[in-house]
Each structure stands twice: as C-alpha cells, then as structure tokens.
C-alpha cells in the first residue's frame, strides 16, 4: 500500500533556482536511462486518507453513498496525480481514528486527510499531526485549523426546493399545493436539518405562503411509505411537492403515491443522486433519459463518489505551498433525466 517515501518537494522561489544545477544533472542522468524530463521532475507525495468507515452497506452523510464509494474515488483520482495513497478505515471509532493518525505519523506521510465524525477526536488528531509537522485536510467534520471540504447541505436543499417550486408554478398554477419534506429530518450529525431549511427556502421563493409538512422517517426509509400514505389520504385534492431528503425516501414516497392512486398529484425532488436512482443504459433506473415522465423530477447530486477528485487536488495544492480556501464546498447540481448521462456517463455498452 505504501511505496518508498520520496524526498521533500523542492522549495519555492530563490531556493528552487539554487537547485537548478542539481536538477540539470538529474535530467542528464535520467535521459541516459530513458526517462522524460517530467518523470525526473515529478515530485510524488504520500497522502493518507482516513475514511469515516469502509463497512459495506453503511451509508454516509444522510445519502445512499457508502464509505467504499468514497474510498474508491480517492483511489481513482490518485491515478492522475503524483500521489501514493495510504488508506485507513476510521471505523467511526475514536480509538481507531487516533491509532490511524499515529501510524501515519510513524510513516511520515506528507499530508493527512481526516474524515471522522467525532469533534473531540478530530481535535486530538489535529494536535498530534501538527506536532509531527504533517498538514491536515478535513472532510465534512472540521479539524481545528485545517482546511475543510464539505457538502453544502443548505445550498443542496435550496436547489431541490427551487426545482419543486418552479415545477409547481409551471404545472399546477392556481391549484392548492402542499409541500412535504420527508426523510431523516432530525439527523444533525449528517446536517440534514440544513438540507431541510434549504428546501423550505427554495420552495418559498416561488410560493411564499405554501404550507410545509415535515415527515420524519427517523432514518428508516421503510417507514416512508406508511407515513406518506397516511398524509396523502388526508389531503385529497392537493398537489404535493415532495422534497425527499435522500434517494431511498424519494423512491418510497413515489411508491406510496402510486399505491394511493395519486401519482399524478405529486412531484418529487431528492437529495444524493446515488446509484439507487440512476445507472447505466441497461439498468433503466428512476432517473433515466428514457423515463422523462417520472414524477421524480431529479435528485440533487452530492457526489460522495467523487470526493477524491475534489479533495486530492486540494491536498496536492497544499503540499506545493499554494493557498487553498479554508472551506471548499461541493458544487451541487440537480440531476434529471435530461442531464443524467452527461453527469454520470454510463459505460455498460460495448
């Protein structure tokens, strides 16, 4: 997993110039063994990524993405960068997280990426790595004094709310509307309440007086059907704008409307855009170019399966001494039947 740690990067500015003769000699030597100039000059970095959890099936951040998908995104993104990855599994466990940081210090990694939910542990990890002169980059859960990469739940919710609001204004003008927010509404660790607030803000842009009902699944999408079914039955004649807080809840809500014979009264926008809701050409999932009439209008992408592509370049910039912002957020986008194959090109064709 770990390759030999290479010498530190050449310092910037005047000292780099001072190294020029040495670099020229290195170039000459490398030419004799068939290496290119870029091979010789490329500085490789050893970067540790401590994942929240690698446990199969465990989903993260109130979405349908798993830790395995996050980890794989780092492995794939590292292919294009001068990076040797050291992968750790924090197992959602403070003691494991501390042990992982200690191991990375022993290995003298160049940078540590911490993805762990416990604030106290993150503070301790930050102190230890700082003492070892190893820079830290945090994902989702802050580490003191470290740059943070995170989803923007409020912005994502707003995108969902606005999409629903615009649909309602366009399709159901002058008809009685009810907004429903369904999912694990109280999941503070996953910042779902921010998602809820964003969705409300977005809905109210088009419909300032709309009534919003929250339906709390308490993290169990299997409950969504029953809860939505009961609510829908009590709202005859209403058009329903449903912001589902995750994709599983969206699909369950759709099934509930179908069972109640109310499909034509509902529109759903979800959060996550995980593989349960979109897929390849042959898979024909809910969000698919051939399913443009679905009442699931779309899902706001959280891109946990691309975290590595966003985070590793930030890490490399830090190691090269370039400034990076203290907080970088995911650029969320609404994935619909019209753009799903652009955002997530399928590869099940040959």
């Amino acid at each position: 997993m770990l390759t030999a740690v290479t010498p530190p990067a050449p310092p910037r500015g005047r000292r780099r110039f001072a190294f020029a003769p040495a670099l020229l000699a290195l170039l000459a030597a490398s030419a004799s063994v068939g290496l290119t100039a870029s091979d010789a000059l490329e500085r490789r970095y050893t970067i540790a990524f401590a994942n929240l959890t690698d446990e199969p099936g465990v989903t993260l951040e109130g979405t349908g993405f798993t830790g395995r998908e996050v980890r794989d995104s780092f492995v794939l993104a590292a292919r294009l960068l001068p990076v040797d990855l050291v992968l750790y599994d924090n197992r959602r466990d403070p003691r494991t997280a501390l042990a992982n940081a200690a191991d990375a210090i022993r290995r003298k990694v160049d940078l540590y990426i911490q993805y762990h939910h416990d604030a106290t542990t993150n503070a301790e990890v930050g102190v230890r790595l700082h003492a070892a002169n190893i820079p830290v980059l945090a994902i989702t859960f802050p580490v003191p004094d470290a740059p943070l990469y995170t989803a923007d739940n409020r912005a994502a919710g707003r995108i969902a709310g606005e999409a629903l609001g615009e649909f309602g204004a366009r399709a159901w003008r002058n008809q009685p509307l009810l907004a429903i927010i369904v999912g694990n509404v109280g999941a503070r660790d996953d910042r779902v309440p921010e998602r809820v607030q964003g969705a409300v803000d977005g809905l109210k842009r088009q419909h300032p007086a709309i009534r919003v009902v929250t339906v709390d699944s308490q993290g169990n999408p299997a409950r969504v059907g029953e809860l939505i079914g009961r609510l829908v039955a009590s709202q005859p004649g209403k058009k329903l704008l449903i912001a589902a807080l995750d994709d599983a809840s969206a699909l369950a809500a759709k099934s509930a409307l179908e069972a109640a014979g109310r499909l034509s009264d509902g529109a759903i926008v979800s959060h996550g855009a995980d593989r349960s809701i979109h897929g390849g050409v042959s898979e024909r999932k809910e969000i698919d170019p051939s399913n443009r009439g679905s009442i699931v209008i779309g899902s706001v992408a959280f891109y946990l399966d691309r975290y590595g592509y966003d985070v590793l370049p930030l890490a490399v910039r830090m190691l090269r001494g370039e400034p990076i912002p203290p907080r970088t957020v995911t650029r969320h986008k609404l994935i619909t039947a019209a753009n799903v194959f652009v955002e997530y090109p399928p590869y099940d064709m040959n």
């Binding site: 068939g34 290119t36 091979d39 492995v75 794939l76 292919r79 294009l80 390849g280 050409v281 042959s282 898979e283 399966d305 691309r306 592509y309 194959f341 652009v342 955002e343 997530y344 090109p345 399928p346 590869y347 099940d348 064709m349 040959n350």
Partner: protein, 336 residues
C-alpha cells in the same frame, strides 16, 4: 384574425422544421480525414501492398496463433445484448433426406448484435453529437436498418503487421503492478491507466518500434476473466485496465490502423475523468479513423512472445463486407 393565425402557424411549422433538420457543424467538432473529404476508409488506407508485403516477412515458422474468443452462450455481454443461433436441421428427420444419395443439410439463423465477442469497432460506431469520422453528419446517413456511410464495406483488408505489448510485464518491471484476485493468471486490475510511456516501455522490452500500418495488441491479462465465462462475467464487465488519453494521442501519432486488447473497451474503465464517456474511442475512431478491437484473445500470443523474445506477427483478420454495419465479430489469427 384567421390570416394572423395562418402566419403564426406557418412560422411554427418553419421553426419546428428547422429544429428537426438542425445538424451540428461537424467541421468544428471532428477533424477532417487526411485522405480527403470523401474518405470513408480511415486508417486502413495505410495498409498498402508494401505494408502487407513487409508484414509477410513475419511469417517464419508457419505457426498460427488464435486471437479470438469463442462466440457462444454465456460470454460476457451487457444488459439486453445478445448473440444467439438457431439451427435448422429438418432434413435429419426420418424420411426427410433428399434423393437416392440421401443428402441432408443444416444451416443456422444467427440473431446477434454486432459488437459481441471478439469484435471490431467500425468508423460508424462512435461520434461526437451527430458528427462522425471525417466530419460526416451521420444524422443524414442512417435509416432504421443501417448506415449509408462509414459501413464496414469501406474498410480495407487487414493484412498487416501485428505488434503485441505485454502490459503485465511492463507494470511488473516498473514495480507498479496491481492485480485482481479473480484472475487465474496475472492481470492488471480494472482502473489501471496505461500511458504512452508504458506502451513504449513494452515495445522496448522486445526491441520493436511501431511503424505505419501496424495493429497494436495489448495484453493486460484481464481477458482471463472472459475465459472463465460465465463465472466472472460481472467482474469482467465491472471495469477494466486500458489505455488513457495520453496513450491514445501517442498512438494516433504512430499512424497505426487499429489497437486491440483482451478487454471489452480497450480503454481504461473507470475512465480518467468521471464526466467523460469513452473518450479514447472518440480520440481513436472519431478523430483519427483508427479501429478498436475488443475482447481479443492475447494470452497465447503473449506466451509466444515471451518464449521467443519476438512480439511481432502477421495480423490476419476477417471483416465481412457487411454493408452499413457499425462493427462486427471477427476472426483474428496471428501468423508467425
């Protein structure tokens, strides 16, 4: 009022017709063919008599090495793709033979998609928007049965030199080999990016350089999963090692006619950029008219190259003159 409505209706009809007939400006999307504006042949233009004659020098022992996998039920396919044959054997029934000589006969109906098994991607297989090789706006040249431009009938015969590069050896020699435990023989893992430098390192191993008109065959070992069909079909289709954009651009500069591999797409999957779809196919087929050969059996030739320290061979491949097809399954032999 009626007049106004008529005008509006006429405008609508005109507007919708314009939209329906709208074509991309392919001169801005795809480069022109170096063989002229009417070219539909692409890189096989490079297979000249001189190229074929030079390739014949590779036949030294008369040994024929199969480079195709069997095309049969259970091989890896995606989704609803299929290849199926139906045997007609009615004359084998008692009393159904013909004449005093009791002649019987059988024949097949083959229902199959063309891009199955060991197969060639033709120039009409991959485009950008509606623009295909040589800036052809393909929307104007298709009907419900086939293409009326860029069909397989335009390809020249593949009688040229083949060059095998053993990527397993390259990655092991470079100390960057990462395998997959599902392979019964060594294979590069899916997602492994093969660069132009990797290919050059592999050529150097056998002291060979590419020349104009060659077919390059890459052995990644991934084909071992195909050989295990159907047990490893899902793993085989889940991704693959393959060339990245850097290698594709380098190969275009080498003026080869085709690149093949023991994988289902030749290019690395997952791709280098998750928002790009089969970009290497665009670089090779759409932009350069270079064919892609998929699911090529490479293990036997890799073993021969390893045994004899020679990685070149006469590349013979049968492509039916199937008018208007985008590709087809093929038989490939490497002759040495």
């Amino acid at each position: 009022m009626r007049f106004t409505c008529s005008l509006a209706a006429a405008f609508l009809v005109f507007a919708s017709t314009s939209v329906a007939l709208a074509q991309s400006d392919c001169s801005k999307i795809v480069p022109p063919s170096p063989w002229g504006p009417n070219d539909q042949t692409g890189a096989t233009n490079r297979i000249t008599p001189a190229v074929t004659k030079a390739a014949a020098a590779e036949i030294q022992e008369g040994q024929v090495v199969p480079m195709s996998y069997p095309l049969t039920d259970g091989i890896p396919l995606f989704g609803t793709r299929f290849t199926k044959s139906i045997l007609t054997a009615t004359s084998l029934a008692p009393g159904a033979a013909f004449g005093e000589n009791q002649l019987t006969y059988m024949e097949d109906t083959w229902l199959s998609q063309s891009h199955v098994g060991t197969h060639l991607d033709g120039l009409g297989h991959i485009g950008r928007k509606d623009c295909y090789f040589n800036q052809i706006p393909m929307g104007k040249f298709i009907n419900q049965n086939n293409m009326t431009k860029l069909g397989l009938e335009h390809i020249k015969t593949f009688a040229t030199r083949g060059v095998l590069v053993d990527m397993v050896k390259v990655f092991k020699a470079a100390g960057k080999f990462k395998g997959n435990s599902a392979c019964k023989r060594e294979c590069l893992d899916k997602g492994t990016v093969i660069t132009g430098a990797d290919i050059q390192a592999g050529l150097k191993m056998y002291n060979v350089t590419l020349r104009e008109g060659d077919v390059l065959i890459l052995h990644t070992g991934w084909g071992n999963l195909f050989e295990q069909f159907p047990a490893q079909n899902a793993t085989y289709n889940s991704g693959e090692p393959g060339i990245g954009k850097d290698a594709a651009h380098w190969l275009v500069g080498q003026k080869i006619v085709a690149v093949g591999a023991d994988t289902w797409a030749v290019e690395v999957i997952p791709g280098e950029d998750p928002k790009e779809a089969f970009i290497v196919h665009n670089i090779l087929i759409t932009d350069a008219g270079i064919h892609i050969l998929e699911n090529v059996r490479t293990d036997l030739m890799a073993a021969e190259a390893d045994r004899t320290r020679r990685a070149t061979f006469f590349f013979g491949m049968t492509v039916p003159k199937a008018v208007g097809l985008t590709g087809n399954f093929v038989g490939i032999e490497g002759i040495r």
